[in-house]
């Protein structure tokens, strides 16, 4: 199976042929995969070199010129490094762009903190008007990328090498119903959540889109005040959104995800998943402790 990043390059390259408004802006990362498309469309596949502030500003400037810009690099260098450019050259200018990241929270598990970005979604939460997709499978990534390219506003698509075995619907979906609480599984964590909750009487909601937060589905399916969020980025990122969704009633919310304390260990993404308590048996323990507290 291809990775989400490979699917991104393949699909985007094809769409460059079909949609004259699309322009891809790169900073060396993944540019090999766009070499063919770059030969066919030299003006719309733009590799700036290692210039990430320019990456975001170029996206803003392309939008001002009437194009649909797609800017890409690792999440840490796309969102965190040039955050003022996102704040001003996209939000303050009020232009649209698609930001597509690779690397996520611990894909580059042996790479260390500099290449890991669990804080990206939380950072974007400080700005209005961002649609944020966290696909759980390359097929979902393709659907959501195609949607993003057709849209007009600001969209962040967070790709990862972490993936579920099978694609799920690329929208908020009920995976199972239960009575003792609701578990919200985001993107690539659907498989561990399903394994962890197979013997638990809980509702499991899946979502590959976290902004806007699936508030309506959460409210419609709520059977108990307990909500457990399982997010592949900073733990608790969607606690405020959940509280706002359920502001009309008492709730208890547990936010599971990546710890903010730096994990100065290497190894594999699986090692990191376990270290952050996001593997099935750790999730099972956290969820049952919360429901029986």
């Amino acid at each position: 199976m291809d990775t989400m990043r490979e699917r991104f390059a393949a699909v985007t390259s094809r769409l460059l042929d079909e949609d004259p408004r699309l322009a891809v802006v790169l900073a060396v990362i993944t540019s090999d995969s766009f070499a063919d498309a770059g030969r066919r469309h030299p003006d719309r596949v733009i590799d700036l070199g290692i210039r990430e502030q320019l990456l975001i500003s170029t996206a803003g400037g392309l939008a001002l010129a009437g194009l649909r810009p797609v800017a890409h690099t690792f999440a840490s260098f796309l969102v965190e490094r040039p955050f003022e450019q996102i704040k001003l050259d996209l939000n303050h200018l009020d232009v649209g762009a698609v930001l597509v990241s690779a690397g996520a929270s611990y894909d580059m598990s042996a790479g260390g903190r500099t290449h890991q970005s669990p804080g990206d979604v939380a950072l974007l939460d400080t700005l209005p008007g961002w649609t944020v997709h966290v696909p759980g499978h390359p097929d979902e990534a393709e659907t959501l990328l195609r949607e993003a390219y057709q849209a007009e506003g600001r969209v962040y698509v967070r790709l990862s090498t972490e993936t579920n075995e099978q694609p799920l619907p690329a929208k908020p979906t009920v995976l199972k119903r239960g009575r003792r609480g609701t578990v919200v599984a985001v993107g690539p964590l659907a498989d561990p959540v399903l394994a962890a909750t197979s013997d638990l009487d809980v509702t499991v909601l899946y979502t590959p889109t976290v902004r806007p937060f699936p508030a309506q589905l959460l409210r419609e399916t709520l059977a108990a005040p307990e909500v457990i969020l399982v997010e592949p980025y900073l733990a608790g990122t969607s606690i405020p959104a959940t509280a706002r969704a359920l502001s009309g009633q008492p709730t208890r919310i547990l936010g599971l995800g990546v710890a903010s304390k730096e994990l100065r260990h290497y190894g594999t993404p699986g090692d990191h998943q376990k270290a952050h308590g996001l593997d099935p048996s750790s999730l099972h323990r956290s969820i049952t402790d919360f429901l029986t507290a």
Binding site: A23, S57, G60, A65, E84, Q85, L88, D89, D94
Partner: protein, 237 residues
């Protein structure tokens, strides 16, 4: 898109298109409260006037046209000269200048493209306009539009590293629809030993250095040919 209704006392000023260079000081002085940036504002006045009066193919009637030239004010502080020039050219009524900085005014101490007719980018944090202009220049080229992009930056503003990502890339990409005017009022904290234009020239730009108050010299420097290269005019004031 800007969708504002501008109200002001009728008959209180000249009609659009009647203002000339000699009216600009009066138009500037109607904007009070940002006196700390008077020097910054005045430093840009002549370059702005020559651009809007002689060089830029854009007017209130063509302000949304794909084929218009784009002017990006990157030096966003002290925008009083910019607002005066825009009012003089009829992008909005001169009466609007009186409300500068007020709660409901469209004119803030740094310009907002979503509020002010004729303003192409919002600025205020230094070092954003030139990188944005690189993106626009690339976009216009991709769409095969004949439009040119102009950016006004300050010599102090060039301290910001983000400018240099743009300068180095634009030279390599031969973005010949990109033009920069640097207002050099020697305000950079540690100066630019050897001259600003040398850095641009080294990166493959066409360059000129002129007296930033001499309209004829500015016009000539702004309109000189520069095939296959982006172009910078350093205007000394």
């Amino acid at each position: 898109m800007k969708d504002i209704v501008l109200e002001g006392p009728a008959g209180s000023g000249k009609a659009h298109g009647e203002y000339g260079y000699d009216d600009l000081r009066a138009l500037m002085s109607r904007q009070t409260g940002d006196e700390k940036h008077d020097r910054a504002a005045t430093s840009t006045l002549d370059a702005l006037w020559v651009l809007y009066d002689k060089v830029l193919r854009v007017s209130p009637a063509t302000a949304e046209d794909d084929e218009r030239d784009r002017f990006y004010l990157s030096k966003g502080h002290g925008p009083m000269a910019y607002y005066a020039v825009l009012a003089a050219k009829g992008f909005f009524p001169a009466d609007v200048l009186d409300g500068f900085g007020g709660f409901d005014s469209i004119l803030g101490r740094h310009p907002d493209r979503t509020l002010v007719p004729g303003v192409e980018i919002s600025s205020g944090s230094l070092g954003h306009g030139l990188p944005l202009a690189v993106g626009t220049a690339l976009g216009l080229r991709a769409r095969r539009l004949p439009s040119r992009v102009w950016v006004l930056v300050g010599d102090g503003e060039l301290d910001e590293g983000s400018n240099h990502e743009a300068i180095t890339y634009a030279g390599r990409a031969r973005l010949d629809n990109l033009h920069v005017v640097v207002i050099d009022n020697a305000s950079a904290m540690h100066g630019w030993p050897g001259g600003i234009e040398r850095r641009f020239a080294f990166e493959g730009w066409s360059t000129a250095r002129v007296n930033g108050r001499d309209h004829a010299a500015l016009t000539e420097a702004f309109t000189m040919a520069h095939p296959e290269q982006p172009h910078v005019v350093v205007a000394e004031v």
